[in-house]
Amino acid sequence: MLDTLLLSRIQFATNISFHILFPTISIALAWFLVFFKVRYVQTNQPVWLRAYRFWVKIFALTFALGVVSGITMSFQFGTNWPGFMERIGNIAGPLLGYEVLTAFFMEATFLGVMLFGMKRVSPAVHTFSTIVVAIGTSISAFWILSLNSWMQTPVGYEIIDGVFYPKDWFAIIFNPSFGYRLSHMLLASGITASFLVAGISAYRLLKDDHKHAPKLTLKVALTVAVILTPLQAFVGDLHGLNTFEHQPQKVAAMEGVWETEKGAPLLLFAIPDEEARANHFELAIPNLASLILTHELDGEIKGLNEFKGEHPPVKPVFYGFRVMVGLGLLMILISVVARFTLFKTGELPRWQLKALVVMTFSGWIATLAGWYVTEIGRQPYMVQGLVKIEELVTQVPSEHVLYTLIGYICIYALLLAAYIKTLFYTADKSVEVEEYELNPPMRGEQHA
């Protein structure tokens, strides 16, 4: 029989996985919209407005899904993890509170003006609202990543009778892994959004959309992708080094290192076996893991056996890491090739457009894989090294959790299907729209 703890964990994972999909897009898509809007204001070319209008629809839908799944999150703490707030509420509470106060209201209120107020406010106020929404989404990421990072690298607290009390808020907020995790996530969002924009734009071009807007958004998205993907590899590496310093057991699981060893190889592939405490079918590059993590060929990497009973389940962390890195490398390759082709020839051949359509949601998969690495990599702890998950779970009967879990899974599956379908349907509809429908082309202009 599945117990309340396991079911609650699955339910939390389901909720957070579903939720994170939408902020991952909207954080950066909000800045894309700012860019489109500002370019329109600067150049007065209708094509920028058209790009804005197309993507603001998708933004609104994405944002709505993020809001409703986020509300679910705010109730989860109380319904399923009461111990979380009883034990670390004094630290988690204010961080979550600041997120609501400084981000949620601002985003939601100015979103109304941004979506529906174009005719009711001056262009400057509208642009301002668009910028405020973008700032709001980023502030929201700031606070929630601060809390998450604190759970990975807790500092600035004291524990009295098992309850955490804040001692130094600056240290708590800017805890050792925060900067790395925040940059990593913001870049992930940028990459996810740029592949989404590129994918949908490519889809429109494949459908023979001859308007200028999809060509333009494709170019913008690929330019962003070609800058951010290599940058992400660099930041990800720094983040890995930070994790190596603070959570060596997570890195050991990521690298599949069982025994502490000097000159550890980089495993391209393997099947970790937790019972045998060894890997099968290793495909390895000698010394590379040590070189990456310690910058020495024979640097020492602590193995999982030094953390028996304290380290995360190896398989999901190990595979998750490979999925993330593999996809990351593929995204670098594709964005470089496509942007270069665009630079050379001014357009993309059909096979490249098709590849971009396939990659539309690649950012989601890479981001989820990355989060699984870092979150499962924290197990069995809620707060690394201090509070175990099992100490915090609810007393609610397991069948109640089972009912709600089934309910969530059904509705999320439905919503995800509807979201993806609607995205492409919106693209289909825009293909049919004539170039001059929204704004008549100005005299002397061939096509906007």
Binding site: R53, V56, K57, A60, L61, A64, L65, V67, V68, S69, G70, I71, T72, S74, F75, F77, G78, T79, P82, G83, M85, E86, G89, N90, G93, P94, L96, G97, Y98, L101, T102, F104, F105, M106, E107, A108, T109, F110, L111, G112, V113, L115, F116, G117, M118, R120, V121, Y165, P166, T394, V396, H400, Y403, T404, G407, I411, L415, A418, K421, T422
Partner: protein
Amino acid sequence: MLSTEFLAQFYGALMALAILVYAILDGYDLGVGILLPPDNKEQADTMIASIGPFWDANETWLVLAVGLALIAFPLAHSVILQALYLPVALMLLGLILRGVAFDFRAKAKTKYQDAWDISFKLGSVITAFSQGFMLGLYVMSFDSSLESYAFAILSGIGVVSAYGLIGSAWLVMKTTDSLQAKAVAWCRKFNLVALLGVVAVSIINPLINDFVADKWFGDELSTLLLPVPFACIALFIYQDRLLANYKMQQSIGSSWKPFAITTLIFLLCFFGLLYSFYPYVVPNQLTIYESLADASALTFMMYGVVLVVPAIIGYTIFSYRVFWGKTEALSYY
């Protein structure tokens, strides 16, 4: 660091404010959802356009209220939410359905649009009902007897009609012509149902909770407060008379009155509940003082509250001013 007594009262008051503002603001947009006509696409569009710019921010007040409970009164938060596990899940289902339906109904393929309209209406009803159901269980101190569930079901219906009332009052203010006439009729009907509901709760609550009876009929302060229920009833009657011979208006004119009256009714009812239970945050079990989180954490957050809440109120007013007036045909973006 501030005293725990002050902090408990401060955060208690703030949480109460968040719940009240939530009930009024999300109350009207849930009410509009409850009233959505399944057979009139044009009117449904106008109704949804009237809440379009606001519903997101309205819902945020719920997040703030729950967040404040979580942050300031973590013990109460976990007791309440564990006791209400299934109704909370039901409410979330409703909120999810209507939140996404709002966007999907305008963007999905035509053949799915009716389904999303139904989801919007159904989600609104589920959300309102489960909120009322939870309120009922709360008033019954989470007792799990049959009477307590019966009361919770009544309370659920009560909240659905209360939201229907404020939703139709909103529509009287924001719409014109035939839709406005419809809204006036709805408003009058819900006004009556809500009146019955308020009277029922006001009688049952002190009968079942001794401490509530003590509060209202016990000490000296209470004689000063007895006019509250009568003022509330007077407002209901005034509203009924006002709507009985209502003259339709093409501009805002005085069409804001039903909404203002309903807001006052909400305010008085909420005050009545608040007074009944203060200082308990979990009825009969936990006071705001007993369940307060660490004072230093709450002091740290208070800087933010003092700085940011006025700003939130400020730009909320700004947004209502931007969209002041009768709703225009939905101009998407």
